[in-house]
């Protein structure tokens, strides 16, 4: 039975995440994890969530988005502001609740941006859609560079291109969000991954998720079956934006300062690389790829200066090895039929 098979697969995915978390916690508490790797724990959680959410757009909904880091930056900035405001304005000392609320705020603002961007973007197709998401990502970064926020008592001040606002500066234009109280925790990251998995996996295996996949597989047939294509593309896009915003808030609250330049086009591409290497539409693959590739530069320290070069070569070789037809037929000979690595399916309509 198909439903049962899916459920089993999903349970395995949850178990892998939980096991990894328990293992890492043990390594940390027993002092077996290096400092630098320990510092990577929260970013890994963030990138895992980013990769899963982007996979919802690229793999499940079938639209290539090159601006996912834009939503992350909105989440990071609004989350940082919300956290500072909750602390300064409402004296909310409990860090856990503040982190949760900040992440919700980050998700909400990223979701609003997702709606605003989705309306024009989802009218386009294929590569044109991709380039417009790229453009929006860059616009978000540019606009964030001109924003100034300050907290005066419990009042929040905003200005555009004008640093002269009263109170403590929270967001200082190109210098980004400053003076952030670091409240992000690994456990929060783990919970966020579980939440993301719950949302994405359950959505995919529901009426709405099937409609999203139908629009990906065959737009014209989906319309003929009475499915409102734009509505479901939008649903996937905005859900992904909300999740990316929450991940962004967690990311922002893990540093004392965050600038918009951290969320450049390169970051969007990085997340896309996780998705493609993990297998398009394959959620578990996204988790594994995001984790490995975030840790990989650390592991490549032995190569010192050459590590990014090695990273690039690994990336190219993996793509060639998994997608070249003759390599694929080689795998097919050695592996049982359904175990061959999933081909990266074209995210754009062909």
């Amino acid at each position: 039975m198909k439903i049962k098979k899916n459920t089993v697969q999903n349970v395995i995915t949850y178990l892998i995440v939980i096991a990894a978390f328990v293992l890492c916690q043990w390594l940390i508490s027993s002092g077996r994890m290096t400092r630098s790797l320990k510092g990577q724990m929260i970013p890994i959680c963030v990138y895992v969530v980013m990769a899963i959410s982007l996979n919802l757009v690229v793999g499940i909904s079938g639209e290539l988005s090159l601006g996912h880091a834009g939503f992350m930056s909105i989440g990071a900035f609004s989350g940082a502001i919300a956290s500072a405001w909750l602390l300064g304005g409402f004296h909310m000392e409990n860090e856990g609740i503040r982190l949760l609320l900040s992440m919700i705020v980050g998700g909400v603002f990223a979701g609003i941006a997702g709606v605003l961007i989705g309306v024009p973007v989802l009218r386009l197709r294929g590569d044109y859609l991709a380039i417009v998401t790229l453009a929006f990502g860059e616009i978000i970064r540019n606009v964030l560079n001109c924003l100034y926020f300050s907290l005066d008592g419990s009042r929040l001040h905003v200005s555009f291109n004008n640093p002269n606002i009263p109170g403590t500066i929270l967001v200082n234009g190109p210098a980004g969000a400053t003076g952030i109280v670091k409240i992000a925790t690994f456990t929060a990251g783990f919970v966020l991954i579980l939440f993301t998995l719950l949302v994405v996996l359950n959505l995919v295996n529901s009426r709405s998720g099937r409609a999203i996949m139908a629009t990906r597989d065959n737009r014209i047939a989906a319309e003929a079956m009475g499915i409102n294509v734009t509505k479901y593309k939008m649903m996937a896009f905005v859900t992904a934006a909300v999740l990316a915003g929450m991940a962004g808030a967690l990311y922002g609250l893990n540093f004392s300062a965050v600038t918009a330049s951290k969320f450049k086009f390169d970051t969007s591409i990085l997340v896309l690389v996780f998705v493609v290497l993990g297998g398009i539409g394959n959620i578990r693959g996204s988790i594994i790829a995001a984790t490995l590739l975030t840790v990989l530069p650390e592991l490549l320290r032995a190569f010192s200066d050459y590590r990014m070069l090695v990273y690039a070569i690994v990336l190219i070789l993996v793509m060639l090895a998994t997608n070249n037809p003759s390599m694929r037929s080689l795998y097919a000979r050695f592996l049982p039929k359904d175990k061959t690595p999933a081909p990266a399916k074209g995210g754009t309509e062909t």
Partner: protein, 285 residues
């Protein structure tokens, strides 16, 4: 059979017209009425002055040589193309300015000449897509597994299985739609279209690629579908055995225009039709 229930929300507007064959028109109002329907592609009239009425529970055939504009008519009906001329009335509703999704909601569900299944999804999920607007529950019910989800999923599963049983396809429910043999894919497309609870079912070459045995089976199935669901079927087909065997009315299209209408017997003996298919006797010499 619950899925066979007539849709109740469609308003019946009496129209002063009759089916292709008047005596077959069992009800007073037709399911489909096209008046002077036409479309131009950059000056080229692909379909012109297309007038057709299909009665409730009628099985109508649309035939003609290759390139005559048959599929274009289907695309006009389902609003894949917007007609540049004329009117389409479906159960009395004007389809003018509606899109494919809205036309589907009014009771139009088609199959495609080049099969358009959701190939990466299972057979059952394909049917569930057809049931999308029949069994509803919201996105949040789905994500958080609220009671609506469980109820909706159960209902979708039961209906999907019931529909698949029409073509004895229940055993394939878990298979990937793209991996099915050709004939089964065509049958699945019909099941998927039926799941949307249509009142008119346009089938674009349903027997293409089927062997004579499968075609035979399909013919009886089409009649069963008509009788069970009390819907009208409109089909484009090149297999004349099928067309002449089950269609009550036939409409012949050539160069985008209707050249003949009538019963199978009338069409078979119509000299204009023979000429369109075989050319003039003189030329054949």
């Amino acid at each position: 059979m619950e899925i066979g229930k007539k849709r109740q929300n469609t308003k019946m507007v009496p129209a002063p017209s009759q089916g292709i064959i008047p005596e077959r028109d069992l009800y007073s109002s037709p399911v489909l009425e096209c008046r002077h329907l036409g479309i131009e592609f950059g000056g080229l009239k692909a379909v012109e002055d297309f007038n057709l009425v299909i009665g409730k529970t009628e099985i109508a055939g649309l035939i003609g040589p290759n390139g005559a504009g048959k599929t274009t008519v289907f695309n006009l009906l389902t609003k894949v193309y917007q007609p540049t001329m004329g009117t389409i009335l479906l159960n009395g509703h004007d389809l003018n300015a509606l899109n494919t999704v809205q036309a589907s909601a009014l009771g139009l569900a088609r199959t495609f000449q080049n099969i358009r299944l959701f190939g990466n999804m299972t057979v059952e999920d394909n049917v569930r897509i057809g049931l999308h607007n029949q069994v509803k529950y919201g996105m949040f019910s789905g994500i958080f597994r609220l009671p609506g989800y469980w109820k909706g999923e159960k209902e979708q599963h039961e209906k999907a299985m019931e529909l698949l049983s029409l073509f004895e396809m229940q055993d394939m429910a878990g298979a990937k739609a793209g991996s099915l043999p050709y004939g089964a894919q065509r049958r699945l497309e019909i099941v998927r279209a039926l799941a949307t609870n249509p009142s008119l079912l346009p089938l674009d070459e349903p027997a293409a690629g089927m062997n004579p045995h499968e075609t035979e089976d399909l013919m009886s199935k089409i009649i069963t579908i008509r009788d069970t669901f009390k819907i009208a079927v409109m089909l484009i087909e090149h297999d004349m055995n099928l067309v002449m065997g089950i269609c009550e009315g036939i409409c012949v299209l050539n160069y985008g225009r209707i050249i003949a209408k009538g019963t199978p017997n009338e069409i078979q003996s119509n000299p204009v039709v023979i000429e369109a298919y075989l050319g003039k006797r003189k030329e054949a010499q």
